[in-house]
Every structure is written in structure tokens, then in C-alpha cells.
């Protein structure tokens, strides 16, 4: 049998995933996407695998990145957040808003959309429509036509602003 990348010795990568300290086993050239999915984080999706579609987005130390372009070994010590995160205020509000606005159809792009929007709303609590569209320009959805996704992000932003102002 031909040698494959996975046959090479894996080494431990210690990081935090959704608030829990975890150790992933990753081969030297392996993508964070593959190491995470193997560890059971199946809410992270792969579509294009080339950084074009945003399905595999995770928050890495608070910023949205494509996990298909990141070396798993590079994530040593990092704080990774996925769309399944519990206790993450912004991600939670977005998840609820996507349900309430029906901002999802087949659902495959949704985790990436939620996390790209989380990156935006963390830095800007009241973005206009153009800013939201720009922030989501790296995420492709082939079902919704984006309109309801846009509304979901606006709704989450409004909810988060209300929470802040008592």
C-alpha cells in the first residue's frame, strides 16, 4: 500500500476548543479542518477546501479563518471556537437569529456564516448592510439568496445591542 500522509507520525497539538482544553493528534502537514473533524467536531464543514467558500470557518483567537488553509500544528495554544460553542454570547445570538429568520436551508454553509458574522459583530456592534455583505463575502450559500442570512445577522446585532443597554 502506498504511504499516505496519515501514516506519518502524528504529534499532539494542545489547544482550547469551545472553552475546553483539548489535545488533537495531527500529522505534520495536516489541515486544522481534518484534525478537528477527526476529533468529532463535525459542525465544521468542508466544501471547496481552497479558502473560497467559507464552510470550514472557525474563530481562531477570536478571528474568523478558513480551517482548510491552516496547518493543525500552527494552532498550538490557540483558542478555537466553532458554531456549536455554548456560552459564547455572540455565536449564541447569531445561532438563534438564523433560526428565527430562517436564514438557513440545506444548512451546510450555516456554521461558516455564523462564525464570519461573529467576527464582524465582535468588532462592530451596529454594522450597516454593506458592511455585513462585505464581512460575508467569503461565504457561499447556494440556497438562500443571502437575504434571510443578512436579516439574521441584523437581528442578532440588534439583540446584542439590547442586551448591552439595560
Amino acid at each position: 500500500m502506498a504511504a499516505s500522509e496519515a501514516d506519518l507520525g502524528r504529534s499532539p497539538v494542545a489547544l482550547t476548543i469551545n472553552g475546553r482544553r483539548t489535545v488533537l493528534d495531527a500529522a505534520p502537514g495536516e489541515r486544522l479542518l481534518d484534525a478537528l473533524r477527526r476529533a468529532g467536531w463535525l459542525d465544521i464543514k468542508e466544501s471547496c477546501g481552497e479558502g473560497e467558500c467559507g464552510s470550514c470557518t472557525v474563530l481562531l483567537d477570536g478571528r474568523a479563518v478558513c480551517s482548510c488553509l491552516l496547518l493543525a500544528q500552527s494552532a498550538e495554544g490557540a483558542d478555537v471556537v466553532t458554531a456549536a460553542a455554548t456560552g459564547h454570547r455572540v455565536v449564541g445570538a447569531l445561532r438563534r437569529a438564523f433560526v428565527e429568520e430562517m436564514g438557513t436551508q440545506c444548512g451546510f454553509c450555516t456554521p461558516g456564516m455564523v462564525l464570519a458574522a461573529a467576527d464582524l459583530l465582535t468588532g462592530d456592534g451596529d454594522p450597516d448592510e454593506a458592511k455585513i455583505r462585505r464581512a460575508l463575502a467569503g461565504n457561499l450559500c447556494r440556497c438562500t439568496g443571502y437575504h434571510r442570512i443578512l436579516r439574521a445577522v441584523q437581528r442578532a446585532a440588534a439583540e446584542l445591542r439590547e442586551e448591552v443597554q439595560p
Binding site: 500522509e5 479558502g51 478558513c66 463575502a137
Partner: protein, 301 residues
């Protein structure tokens, strides 16, 4: 060929020595947004990777004279930096519109330069601003002007022992009245490699063009300066005639090809229009500022 080891550099010094002593088939990885795909597609090979993500070279330091950008500063950090926005608007625009937020959060200025794509968005502004690249070999540091860095598509002057550590862009004096623009054409407003990109910087003295750099990307084996267009403009007023002549001349400064993104003929048309548009925008900005300035002095009087 599979990657068999990854070494994480913890400082610039450690990175420089790891590179200096690196075995053949060792490559540097920072953001990984180009290299990870090239490795998967077999377009580039590596047995060992030196990971620069945590090497502490991601500073953006501003002083009176210049902004010094560490090689692993991300494109997102460039786009957010107020000093870059104020003094180098073409670099700001190029960074803010490069790819997508997910890519900007990973991709680094050093990677955009060293990948040496003729279409690299940050390179045309760096050419327009005469940036200097600081290159380290072991403990020795040398400076390479960006216009002498690239030798062909994917190729540059660095050897296996060299590490790009910093990009230095010198600020124009306020009295030099520099204006600049970045323009990019792609199939959509985001997530695209440029069909053509252009960065133009221009300094006026007493209404005449004192200096101008016109940099064009994706229209030659490396990003290029439109030298003959620049020469036509120096010493001239920024009139519609001078602008039209410069735009026409720029077409002779490029050597575009047909490829997956466009044709040589279309790229020539875009270059002509981009040079004209950038210069017209700068002329309009100057006119607006002059009108605003005289209004202000009238109201003060």
C-alpha cells in the same frame, strides 16, 4: 512528497537561524493561504516547514518618518491600521479588499510578497510607495528595494538562507502633498485574483507633478512600474491632455498575456483606463482640496 516535520519559530532570531540552517526542501509557512493549496496541488513541495505564525514578527510600528511592518503582520491588521490608512491609502485599500475576511485574518504581508505572484495586491502599492524590504541572513540584515525584489512569476532574489523580516514604507512630508490610489479589477468585489491591479502615487509642487509612481499588476511577469508614463507626467500640470497621454504611454510599459482570467488585449484596455481613472481621481481630489482650502481662508478673512 509529504511534509514530515513542522518547526515553530518563537522569535525573529530563531526563525532567521532555522532558515539559515534549513535543509533542502524546507519551506517557510506563515498564513498558509497560498502554500497550503500549493502543497495539496503538488505545485510546490516541502519535506519540512518552518512555521512563522508565533515568531513575533507581526508588529506594525509607526514613527515620524516611516511605518515598519513585520513580515507576519496579517492583511487584516494592515487594513485596520490608522497610520497606514492616513499615509498610505493605496496600501490600505489593497489590504481591505484582498480576498475575504477569513483570508485577510490569516494571510501575511510577507507571504503576499514572497509568493511573488505578478497579481499580488499588496505589491503594487509597495512599488508605488518605494517600500524597502529588510532581509535577514543569520545575524546580517540587508535592505532590498521592492522594485529589485522580483525576478519572475513566483521568483525573487531571496536564497534558501534568507528571511524577509520587515517592510519599511517611508512617509511623505506633509509639504510634498502626496496623493495615491489603488484600483483593482476582478470578476466580483471580493475573493478574486486581480485581472489587473494598479497603484498610483503622485506629488505636486506648485501645481506641477514633482514625482509619480505608477505600478501595475497582473500585466507582466512581475508587477511593473509604467516608467514612460511617469516620465511624461513629471514637470507637467495634471491636465486631461497630460493624463490621456500618460494612460496611452502606460500600455507600452506592460507585457500582458492571455490566461485563465483574461486576455492580453483586454488587460491593455484596462491599464489605459485604470491609469486615466487613478490620475483623474487624484486631480479631482486636488481640485476639491484647493477649493476647500480657499473657502476656509476666505471665511477666516
Amino acid at each position: 512528497m509529504f511534509v514530515q516535520s513542522v518547526v515553530r519559530a518563537r522569535s525573529e532570531v530563531e526563525a532567521a537561524w532555522l532558515v539559515y540552517e534549513g535543509k533542502p526542501a524546507t519551506r517557510l509557512i506563515a498564513g498558509g493561504t497560498d502554500l497550503m493549496l500549493q502543497l495539496r496541488r503538488g505545485q510546490r513541495q516541502a519535506l519540512a516547514l518552518i512555521d512563522l505564525r508565533r515568531s513575533g514578527m507581526d508588529h506594525i510600528l509607526e514613527n515620524e518618518h516611516a511605518i515598519c511592518i513585520g513580515a507576519t503582520a496579517t492583511v487584516a491588521a494592515l487594513a485596520q491600521h490608522p497610520g497606514i490608512r492616513a499615509h498610505f491609502p493605496a496600501l490600505h485599500t489593497a489590504a481591505a479588499t484582498l480576498a475575504s475576511q477569513q483570508i485577510r485574518n490569516l494571510a501575511t504581508i510577507g507571504g503576499n510578497i514572497c509568493n511573488a505572484s505578478p497579481a499580488a495586491d499588496l505589491v503594487t502599492p509597495l512599488l508605488a510607495y518605494d517600500a524597502v524590504l529588510r532581509v535577514r541572513r543569520g545575524d546580517d540584515v540587508r535592505e532590498v528595494p521592492v522594485d529589485r525584489f522580483f525576478t519572475g512569476p513566483g521568483q525573487h532574489v531571496l536564497t534558501q538562507q534568507d528571511l524577509l523580516v520587515e517592510v519599511v514604507v517611508s512617509k511623505p512630508l506633509p509639504s510634498e502633498g502626496e496623493r495615491s490610489r489603488f484600483l483593482k479589477l476582478g470578476f466580483r468585489g471580493a475573493q478574486v485574483i486581480a485581472v489587473v491591479n494598479a497603484a498610483v502615487s503622485l506629488r505636486l509642487r506648485r501645481g506641477l507633478v514633482a514625482e509619480t509612481h505608477i505600478a501595475l499588476g497582473a500585466v507582466a511577469p512581475t508587477a511593473v512600474r509604467a516608467i514612460s508614463a511617469e516620465r511624461l507626467l513629471r514637470g507637467e500640470k495634471l491636465t486631461p491632455e497630460a493624463i490621456a497621454a500618460a494612460a496611452e504611454a502606460a500600455v507600452d510599459d506592460i507585457s500582458p498575456i492571455d490566461d485563465v482570467r483574461s486576455t492580453a488585449g483586454y488587460r491593455r484596455r484596462v491599464v489605459r483606463n485604470f491609469v486615466r481613472l487613478a490620475l483623474e481621481e487624484i486631480a479631482a481630489q486636488v481640485a476639491a482640496e484647493t477649493a476647500h482650502g480657499s473657502q476656509r481662508s476666505r471665511s477666516r478673512a
